[in-house]
Point group: C2
Chain length 298, copies 2
């Protein structure tokens, strides 16, 4: 039965470990995991472990009630959907497409409308961007932010729950809005840590001691813990490349504009990360806000 | 011996619970806690518990190696120091004055210079602003940010450690710089939480679920935990009044200017809290950034 099968399209650095958790969940239900990727080689390990290879998205579509798309962006989702071997060509029963990539909220809403029209309502879209990185994907501890109609989300949630904590937050696009909000908070805290660290060092403070102390009080955050050693060592080896913030904060700004929210901090954060990227520092870790500020200061 | 005695001047909402911890620490050393305040009545409970009342700062100065000043601001510290009954008039042996109020870094540096000159080096100043509020003062879990010369700080630290976690961060003024950095990070995170919550609600997201989910990831912070229920309920009953941010962020901006740091986020944070205060919302909790943004939005 297709409801006990799940599909995953896109076997990159995130998709492969996510697939491993879906495979386990499918087995527990007595079903199968079907996978497809641009390169067959990406699937070898999974197929050896018991996953089934689909030569095209169409082949996969006919066998799975829920298909997770972990490709890079919405244009790649369009490639998955369209053409002779595309997902839309292969639908046998009503299915749910879970878009796990990060995109603009409006982009995924438009996609959902387009897909509903072209499939005559037989393919519904749920958006479910993730946070937690490759490590979270491997450990099955991703934060998964879900948007969509309740009935569609209800079909997707058991599968998403196998890969981390999945929470239904609102209508289609809500997952992307949540991811954008996450990035806004992360960016604001990162820039504040950068500004504070440069002021503190120039004033003769011991930065390691300061960040240890601040971490125990109201300024304490997961981000402070993660960035502390980088800020102290001025080490910007990339964990979270700064340039990705430009895209993510852009999605947040789009949504603020659409909803008429007169944000004031967000534009500054966009400016900071755009400048860093324009200076050629975008491949470095977001902690590079510290170095950028040092370079700009007298 | 005066080194086993400690003095505390200023028995307000913070000073009284701090005094209780100093009293315990003095007893453990076989010494005494001497207290002084504008109103004798504020000391009654402490005196009943064994603290000694000093009629003037001068009387207290002659008996204690370390005197903690927990008055409101630097002008009040000046009142404590000056005149016939002032601290400077009563010095018998070299002592350390711990300025625990929040002030500008430059203000406390100037005070230290002035005091050193007027006392011919017999009274040294250490700055030690605190974070953690009345609750932290009561529980003895304040974060105490300490600046000053190593020998002076060494005399003060055992007493400060009785009231929380005290860390020596750098030269005189370093405590105030640390407090300003703390407030910068707190303000940035608060404003980001406000912007994110307004965007999310206008986009139809369930804010309580969103904040729960974000709290488990990279956007997680002590502040998110503390402000979550307020943001969800749009409840701005004051815990941390917004207007105090104006002063604190001003100190951070002064120090950024002095050290030539070209901050970009800090001026926006100053603007946000200045506008909130100008609108008459400054007595409400800092979570009022949410309401302010709603009011400004279309």
């Amino acid at each position: 039965m297709t409801e006990d099968n799940v599909g995953l399209i896109g076997l990159g650095a995130m998709g492969r470990p996510m697939a491993a958790h879906l495979l386990r969940a499918a087995r527990e239900r007595g079903g199968e995991l079907w996978v497809h990727s641009r390169r067959r080689a990406s699937a070898e390990e999974l197929v050896a472990a018991g996953a089934r290879w689909a030569a095209t998205p169409a082949e996969l579509a006919g066998r799975c009630g829920v298909v997770v798309s972990m490709v890079q962006d919405l244009p790649q989702v369009a490639e998955v959907l369209d053409g002779d071997g595309g997902l839309l060509a292969g639908l046998s029963a009503p299915a749910v497409l879970v878009v796990a990539s990060t995109s603009s909220p409006d982009g995924v809403r438009a996609l959902a409308d387009d897909v509903a029209r072209r499939s005559a309502g037989r393919l519904a879209v749920v958006d479910a961007p993730v946070s937690g990185g490759v490590e979270g994907a491997a450990e099955g501890t991703l934060s998964i932010m879900v948007g969509g109609a309740p009935a569609d989300v209800a079909r997707a949630l058991p599968w998403l729950g196998a890969m981390g904590t999945a929470v239904h937050l609102g209508p289609i696009g809500a997952g992307q809005v949540a991811k954008a909000c996450n990035q806004l908070i992360v960016a604001a805290t990162t820039v504040a840590l950068g500004e504070a660290s440069v002021i503190a060092e120039r004033s003769g403070l011991d930065l390691a001691r300061l960040l240890d102390l601040l971490g125990g009080g109201y300024a304490g955050s997961r981000l402070l813990e993660v960035k502390k050693s980088r800020l102290v060592a001025h080490d910007y080896t990339p964990a979270a490349p700064a340039k990705f913030m430009v895209k993510d904060l852009g999605f947040a700004a789009d949504e603020a504009r659409r909803t008429g929210v007169a944000v004031r901090q967000l534009p500054v954060l966009q400016e900071v990360f755009a400048d860093i990227t324009a200076r050629g520092l975008g491949d470095l870790d977001t902690a590079v806000v510290q170095r950028d500020l040092e370079d700009r200061s007298a």
